[in-house]
Symmetry: C3
Subunit: 152 residues, 3 copies
């Protein structure tokens, strides 16, 4: 199954509006750099709250998955088709959480597992860091940026 048909089964939000002076996706040669995304829901705006405080681990994982859906929506809008992505190179997964939170990888897995569904367990899974931020814009629970390799 290709990425577009995998994505068709998902409930992708519209591409998130820009919240500052940046470009959502920048393409240089065969590399796409994707700006930090949050868990955008469409008309309802963004999920918010700190994971491990207002949000449970499970809610944090859902927020990471929703963030991944937002990234897919932006990539689809930019590239025309998710099939143009050859592989995930790298993600930086940032969790908004209290200073004693320890389960950042489990949270960000919510996004990584989504990308594995879309591009497969090899190409959909790249290098990654999962870390804890003091705060995030608009108090979103998760922000994820990524680097993707494009097909020839």
């Amino acid at each position: 199954m290709n990425a577009e048909s995998a994505a068709a089964a998902l409930n992708l939000p519209p591409p998130p509006p820009k919240g500052g002076v940046y470009q959502t996706v920048v393409i240089v040669g065969k590399t796409a750099y994707v700006s930090g995304h949050g868990p955008y829901l469409g008309e309802a705006g963004y999920m918010s709250g700190k994971v491990g405080a207002e949000l449970t681990l499970e809610e944090g994982q859902k927020a990471a998955r929703q963030t991944g859906l937002s990234i897919l929506s932006s990539l689809q809008a930019e590239l025309g088709s998710l099939d143009r992505v050859k592989r995930v190179i790298k993600l930086l997964g940032m969790v908004n959480c209290p200073h004693d939170f320890t389960q950042h990888p489990q949270v960000i897995n919510g996004c990584s597992e989504l990308f594995a569904e879309v591009w497969g367990p090899e190409n959909g899974v790249g290098a990654r860091s999962a870390v804890g931020m003091g705060s995030l814009p608009g108090n979103i629970p998760v922000e994820i940026e990524g680097i993707f390799e494009l097909a020839d």
Copy 2:
């Protein structure tokens, strides 16, 4: 107007001294990787304080702009001319702020708007993440790292 003449109208600080074991700029092929910079003022050292606590949003934006000026100064010293930069690929904008701060994108816009002045609204504006750190070196309010594409 080219980047060098745009920069001539700015009050660039001297290139900041290194504060650790790293290189300020590393060039690989047509890509320049720029180390995390802070708001360096020259002889007066660095601006300091947390945005949303000791510093207002407006002061944070000024700190982000000053950080951008420091990056320009380092790039100019390394490349000889800012005209050698083809475009901004990506910025990671890190704000030192309390855990309830929410306006990170507005802060980092201070740097992004500067780069748009220098390289234009298309090439000067790249992908970006704007996030909140628990702390930064020397209690600087902002640290920004970047990736730039060089002209042929």
Copy 3:
């Protein structure tokens, strides 16, 4: 002295097991993207604690060095030999510390000095950011991710 003989004098831990859905190293062309690593000790697990609270600056530097040893072990396992690395392009050094901590560069130097021992003071030292996180997975004191250029 080449990198492998330099590394032979070090006490490398085994490559750390994966703690989530990611690949430890992703290679695209001549570039290796290395996932965030922590101070892995082998059977004893990971060092833990916040630098500037449970851990002193010196212990934080040791944790950064141990994190560097973990990265070397992962690179060796992935590439077969550390001699295949041409240079360090960039590190993102993340310190788990209280909000008033200021000596992040000194902490991350523990890793940067190690890489300078292995690949030399020019190729072993890349661009870098050193910043303070609100929290890190499993309360590890340091997490470092990196981008490396591979030899032809």
